[in-house]
Symmetry: C2
Subunit: 474 residues, 2 copies
């Protein structure tokens, strides 16, 4: 229970008042605190005077009011799956977990909407929609443990963004406990509402710096009745851009996922993941996993076969396999999903989650590859990801002959040249993962000063005491 | 060139500096000013010291800088088609028209995006997309004259929202001249970017109160290859909710429009619009115009026929005609589009543009009808609109036997009971048209105080001098 060097310990009166507000079950003690204070990669060890888990929106509001009165800062936390340290307190903040707010409040199939507590896991939200005959389309690797509140606060993306959008696009309304402890009930389930600034968009992707999301009204979709999954071999990212555009046009926008993987990426999978094999015999410099979905049965297969034939003839495609079963489709997806694990044994990594306009991705890759080779000769580039959204996970692996220390020494140079390349294409240096503590200085350095000034003005306006997740994002 | 009572005339030094910044062609004088100062309904006559039309983003920035230095307020204006007076200056503001910023800067079919100036008309933006083999899907009645900047600032909706969303959902990035005259280049064309607050959503639907939108990066879609349009006879709005849900599920989300019209609404069309006739012989208490679209050819007709048969059997539908030609589909749409003209000769009107969760629309209609009858017996309810989005244009016509003056005297009561009904279903009192001056007091009275406080805090943070479209929205 150490405090960070730059702040006094929280007043015990405040901690006592919080304890009284949430009861004994609402305060997590001893070794039970560890899962809240350590994130996946172990990069940002957390420190806090108190881990509090209120059981209701009203309890959250009471805790925040007490903190506001005492000038005590708060780091809200969902499933603790974030990759940029945004959910970790560093001494002077209490940690407020939303895990006990875990009810699906209402599912309305006729409205194609549902209302859930912030602490409901993404998987539980998907299940609730499925049980009502509907689809909640967001899907990410951590869906079993990440929570809706965190998914909203980080505007998560994932593999279905191409068709259904990011989390931002799936939120109809929010309930938020504001920095002064007031509850804002913005849980409208409307498709149209033009009555002032659309404030929910500040909290979506706001990383908990403006308030604590406690509930959300979400959009649902009809469930697709048919899927067609293909594994394609391509000459280049340029071919992927052309193929994606053709697939979108020919299928009338039925492309749900378009995941690109370089040969070097797949080679690591085949090397390090048992029982993995290339559906196309490891012959192609680039591969794409493409999934189409349709609300009607019996129409996709023919459309896909015909567009693949056209793409072959146009030279956009070199070869492709259509999954003949769900098991085969799952085996394609397994290749994609095991990429992070396949990289693990390969030494030091510089990891970048960038995006560019889709048509600029090939040029970005050429520029970045050349620039990285200059500052770190022999570095292995593992490029893969959501090509359909222009979102590339661009990871740079330590050259096999280089020591980890030497590689550490060039990390800053690698970051600089990758970011410079993304800037040339008006891209984003954090497409999905957010800012947190990991990218805070980068954002401050690289965004237009007018935009940083607006962000700071909004922060001061809505959280004048600076108590909501301080030190994150801005 | 009168000034409003509560403010001094603008300093002539400021007006001279603006004139010098934009040149003679940039200042609109004499009788040429009239089209900028009078809006469609003649409800809010405008007054201003200067109508200025800069020719470039830089000129806009220069004008705003001069205004900031002199404390001179600005009302930005697009195509002057707004229905709530948001685009009209009332004496102390200069009027800044975006009409000369009218270039399509770039269309990128591979990125499914384009960048346009704010002064490009919606129709010109649609045309530019079409020429590139793409669809810009927003469609509203005023599309020939409304401008992209205004469409963004009012977050316009229209007939395709069900499938493609409101304008908010179609904007990838914005260029905005901020209240201090700085140009914010937020014209990113990214599908994913999590690097801080998503500030563009403050300007979308911001009604020009935070800055002046000068350019936008917009999403494009594949063009649909096939449309099926039906005209359906229904027993009730409840039947419409069930039919809509069935249509969405059975077609896999291919419903593009679902417009509901009451018998009273259509009766006025048949009475007052020459050559209009009911495709179903005026037999049904409610009718729906439903349009499906698909990116593939030859699949829709069968799906639609089969779902209509199922809906008939389930009692959700009483009869339906499928348009056999584009001309027949256009004749269905003509019925829908002539409703406002059909109401015109019928005397006084109270017009409401409300929304509720889709499944609550029938209950709202029952409640509102009963409440209006109590405060204005014999009033004719003209209910129609975008049922697919829960957005109803709920218009109350003067009873035939009542004088215009008596009807005027009950307008406030009618408004109160309609709004009370919409509040009961957590609806919106302005679904599409915005706030402007028309709904400003209503919003202030009916929104949660915490939300109004946040809106005001954001306004103060980004426009501390209060120079951007003062008196509008909040």
């Amino acid at each position: 229970m150490a405090d960070s060097a730059h702040s006094a310990p929280p007043p015990s009166a405040a901690l006592d008042a919080i304890r009284a507000a949430v009861g004994e079950k609402g305060v997590i003690e001893g070794s039970d605190r560890a899962p809240f204070l350590h994130e996946l990669r172990g990069r940002w060890p957390g420190e806090t005077a108190m881990v509090v888990a209120p059981a209701s929106v009203e309890e959250v509001a009471r805790v925040v009011s007490i903190c506001a009165a005492h000038g005590l800062a708060i780091t809200p936390q969902g499933g603790n799956t974030g990759l940029v340290g945004g959910q970790i307190p560093f001494g002077r903040e209490i940690l407020l977990s939303l895990k006990r707010l875990n009810k699906v409040r209402d599912v309305s199939p006729l409205d194609y909407s549902m209302i859930v507590d912030a602490g409901v896991t993404l998987a539980a939200a998907q299940d609730a929609a499925r049980e009502a005959g509907r689809l909640f389309p967001l899907s990410i690797g951590s869906e079993g443990s990440c929570q809706i509140g965190g998914v909203i606060s980080t505007n998560a993306g994932g593999v279905n963004v191409l068709r259904y959008g990011n989390m931002r696009d799936l939120v109809l309304g929010l309930e938020v406990v504001l920095p002064n402890g007031e509850i804002w009930n913005g849980l409208k389930r409307l498709r149209k509402d033009n009555t002032g600034y659309d404030l929910k968009h500040l909290f979506i992707g706001g990383e908990g710096t403006l308030g604590i999301v406690t509930g959300a009204a979400l959009k649902l979709y009809p469930r697709p009745r048919e899927k067609t999954t293909i594994f394609a071999g391509l000459k280049s990212p340029d071919a992927a851009v052309a193929l994606l555009s053709r697939a979108q046009t020919a299928s009338g926008g039925a492309v749900t996922s378009f995941e690109l993987m370089s040969r070097a990426t797949l080679a690591l999978v085949y090397k390090n993941i048992p029982d993995s094999r290339d559906p196309l015999g490891e012959k192609h410099p680039w591969c794409a996993l493409i999934e189409f979905s349709s609300g009607r049965e019996g129409v996709l297969r023919e459309v896909v076969e015909s567009l693949l034939a056209d793409a072959l003839e146009a030279g956009e495609l070199d070869d492709a396999v259509i999954a003949e079963s769900e098991a085969q489709a799952a085996s394609f997806w397994r290749l994609r999903h095991t990429i992070p694990a396949a990289m693990f044994p390969e030494g030091g990594q510089g990891k970048f989650d960038v995006s560019a306009p889709v048509a600029s991705v090939p040029a970005f890759l050429r520029d970045a590859d050349a620039a990285v080779e200059l500052v770190c000769p022999g570095a292995r580039i593992i490029a893969f990801g959501h090509m359909g959204d222009g979102n590339i996970h661009y990871d740079v692996l330590q050259p096999p002959t280089m020591t980890k220390e030497t590689f550490q020494g060039v990390q800053d140079d690698i970051e600089r040249v990758v970011y410079d390349a993304i800037d040339r294409y008006q891209g984003s240096i954090s497409a999905e993962h957010g800012v947190g503590v990991a990218r805070r200085d980068d954002i401050a350095r690289r965004k237009q000063p007018a935009e940083i000034a607006m962000m700071r003005a909004v922060k001061r306006a809505l959280d004048p005491k600076g108590l909501m997740n301080p030190g994150k994002m801005l």
